[in-house]
Amino acid sequence: MSFLIDEGKHIQHLLMGNEAIVRGALEAGVNVATGYPGTPSSEVIEAFSKVARERNLYVEWSTNEKVATEVAAAASFAGLRSMCVMKQNGVNVASDFLLHLASSGTRGGMLVVTCDDPGALSSVNEGESRLFARLLEIPLLEPGDFQETKDIIPWAYDLSEKLGIVVMLRSVTRLSHASGNVRFGPLPGKAARAKFSYHGPLLDPETGPVISMIPARPEPTHGRQQEKLKSAQEMFESCPFNTYTGPAEPELLIITSSICSLYSREAVTILGLEKRVGVLKLATTWPLPPKLLTKHLASTKKVLFVEEVAPTLEDHVKVIAAESMSEIGATTFYGKKSGHVPSVGELNPDIVISALSRLCDVPHQPVPPEFAREAKLLADRYSPARGISFCPGCPHRASFWSITGALQLDARQGFVCGDIGCYALAAFPTGFSTNKTLHSMGSGSGIASGFGKLRQFGMDQPVVAVCGDSTFFHAAMPALANAIHHRSPFTLVLMDNRGTAMTGFQPHPGSPTDVLGDPAPALDIEKICVSMGAKVEVSDPFDLAKTRKKLNRLLESTEGAKVLILRQACALSPERRSRKKYEITVDEDRCRGENCGCNRICTRIFGCPGLIWDREKKVSRIDDIICTACGVCPDICPAGAIIKKEVS
């Protein structure tokens, strides 16, 4: 049994921010939880799935974030409490539906949880969800620590139900993936009954059909939505999660939210500025409570905004300041616009220390300068850089080896449009720098569909797109449909590694099981592509010769969209980890190393971390511990020096 459903007095656990979200939702009596995997959000649905049976929940990994939001909304319309969870990019995907949902309103409490990734630690952008709350005109909450993350969720559900509107809760990587002490509250009963009432008048919030707007009549729904937002603002004035620490009239006021509030408090303590600097930590960041802010702005002459990514608080507080100028008097604002806080990348205590140190004229020197200098020299000498790489035995390395080889053989300057998944790393040397574009989920196929239609302008380069099995269902299918219908001659290489591998093997519609591990109908990718009208080939990427031959044949055809499905399980998957198929060794007599015409192609170019270049012996060898025995490297050695022997 998961500790997340422990009951009793005085229970306390060390929880990840993502687990605190789950416990909070359980204490609020959530019934339905949905999401699409994405770092740093994935642990939320995973944790829900572990308690689903005991707590009578419905949990699913949906096809994409928009569908996840729609599934969660259905629960709300039927009077249940629901949550949909995604990383920041997912909000972009869900935003079309969210705009309509914000307008139609909700019934049972509904939260959309977004885990943003400032600094793009595990992303290919630094998206900012907070601005969506303003755009969509929905309330936004940002908890500041682990306990508060758990505690704010029941409050958020009450808010959602009182106003009949979806509420956004934003976390960030450093909260979602960090852990802290959380005291548990009681869990409610498990009984829940769903029913969708639609017999009342149109637009009746409790009993009528739920529609987002009557065409050309925005007032009833959009107007009502704005009234809800005004009520939220009123409630936010006294929200217990907006807190202030510091003197009554601080020399400088920090306005902050989320994990940055912990950086701010720590910086104040380290510099000993407790009597001079105050910290206003806001949990209700859209709409902002103007009376609370005016009161605090009136108490100081200098304000520093400490927040990550977009200057959201900074811009919105300045509007309130302009509106209450007579009450607050002359105030100087510092933050991203003044250059005291960087406008890209994540923050940390040091950045806040440095800003405060400048503004309050307090020096800070944590280590003697000579120590810092010498330690840096030592690290330069003794800590070789760790480049990112596909894992040992990763099927993507083999796939990109064949794709690059096929394109070179084809010799028409063909290229690959990349997509989101581990294979995004193929823009770098570990994937032989094969991918030449990289954007959002499914975009590789959409862009390739476009490139394919540029023949009328003289472009004759062959076009390849790559995508994984989960990405195919998420967003690549519409792009493929587009390409087939418009006879765009590109080749989609669909790298099916049997699960949403990058985020931890979550199932998708092509998987034979669901989030609880129960059997589920698996959609057949090959049959889908065939019935959509594509020419389809299938290969095992570990069979290099066959894969390249098939790909070259597909590249030659200029007729419409083609699909090459490369099937091989991820090297980290339980089925691959359970046993080694081969024993791989290097015949040192045959390995010619640098003298070989290959110029040690296996270690230098293929670059599997399981292959080590022995500088003393001047031969390659196998690292037995990490080699997964995929059996690919014997086929790339021109001297036949890498030997594979089947293990019985």
Binding site: H13, L14, N181, N348, D350, V367, L378, R386, A424, M502
Partner: protein, 209 residues
């Protein structure tokens, strides 16, 4: 249980290594033991695609007063526990200070630049000597070798926790470890993990002697 006051508050521990070495488990075990002793713990870490085969770091912060931020400020680590020697030096440059203790495994994990033959991996003995002139307190042990002799190099992280216990700079003991490991592992796995803990403990004690 109420916590006894610490030598420094917050006390800042970094557990570092290479993705796949069990960094996250080590930090959670340590955090769990200290939380059950009544301390306020913050563990800061990141995991995801950029960490595959790359440097990883967990910041474990212990306080009896307030919730700490998930990132230790530069130069303010009190102890660096490293599952890989080059990572110990890397982290020391950013977070170390003259009073910081280093406890490091001696078994290298080669970066892909080294396996490719593009970069050198410096001799570990030379690395030890360099650190020697630098810090007052440091311990290098072959935790992976000991883990391998127990049957599985994956126990390296547990050997290192045992070694950390022997340093007695952080308030936890074998009983705390026994409870923490029982919470996270199948019952059959507990004895081998306890053995790994004891071996790590012994390695530090013996090196003192």
């Amino acid at each position: 249980m109420s916590a006894v006051s610490l030598a420094k508050d917050p006390f800042n521990i970094i557990i570092t290594g290479v993705g796949g070495q069990g960094n996250v488990l080590a930090s959670r075990l340590l955090g769990g033991m200290l939380a059950s002793r009544g301390y306020l713990i913050t563990i800061g870490e990141t995991f995801g695609v950029t960490q595959r085969g790359g440097s990883v770091m967990s910041h474990v912060r212990v306080s009896s007063k307030a919730v700490s931020s998930p990132q230790i400020p530069r130069g303010m680590a009190d102890i660096i526990v490293s599952l890989e020697p080059a990572e110990a030096v890397r982290v020391m440059a950013d977070y170390g200070n003259p009073d910081c203790i280093i406890l490091s495994n001696t078994q290298p994990i080669y970066p892909v630049g080294v396996t490719k033959g593009d970069l050198d991996y410096p001799p570990v003995e030379e690395m030890k000597q360099a650190v020697k002139g630098f810090l007052r307190s440091f311990f290098f042990i072959d935790a992976t070798g000991r883990a391998r002799s127990l049957g599985n190099p994956i126990l390296t992280n547990i050997v290192m926790i045992g070694a950390l216990g022997a340093l007695a700079v952080i308030p936890f003991d074998r009983d705390d470890f026994k409870k923490a490991i029982a919470l996270r592992m199948e019952p059959g796995q507990v004895p081998i993990n306890l053995q790994a803990f004891d071996q790590g403990y012994k390695m530090v004690k013996d090196s003192d002697a």
